[in-house]
Symmetry: C2
Subunit: 98 residues, 2 copies
């Protein structure tokens, strides 16, 4: 396999990753709407811990390993929280995390 | 759909995300080995820009949007570079980015 072949493989994986990240985000928006209806707080640290525990547990086989996977999911959760806040409060927390 | 249903959906998406992130990482390791053989530098900013341009271009349809997708991929690229360095130099840059 050449460098170009491998880069094409990565581009294809990235296309699926973008699709899945947006699918996840759509679930997060639905959760935001539900929480708004039910009057539940967006930030639920125990659920965030469960998500990290779950991905760590299934990450042990791959080359990234649990720590790198957890770092990436901390960011995914961060973006999810930002999106959910927008759904629930119409808030934009802008560039606060940059 | 209940909150629990939606959370189960997210857990399932996360499982596929972990699998894909590791599949991407395996390609990155192969690229690292090739670069080592060919004596090419790990850090190739023009390729990193291409990756970001690519994911931005396909991110416009979803709720996350191009900026959030690009932020997430900056982290994915960061982890990829860290892994590639380990493959090429046997380096560990440890907790330098934490």
């Amino acid at each position: 396999m050449t460098l170009d072949d491998l880069r094409r493989d990565i581009d294809r994986v990235d296309e699926v990753l973008v699709r899945l990240l947006n699918e996840r985000a759509r679930c997060v928006c639905e959760i935001g709407k539900l929480k708004k209806e039910l009057g539940i707080e967006v930030y639920q640290p125990s659920r965030e811990k469960d998500v990290l525990r779950h991905v760590r547990a299934i990450a042990s086989e791959g080359p990234l390993g649990p720590d790198a996977i957890a770092r990436l999911f901390e960011r995914i959760i961060d973006e999810a929280r930002r999106l959910e806040r927008r759904v629930v409060h119409g808030e934009s927390d802008g560039a606060a995390h940059e």
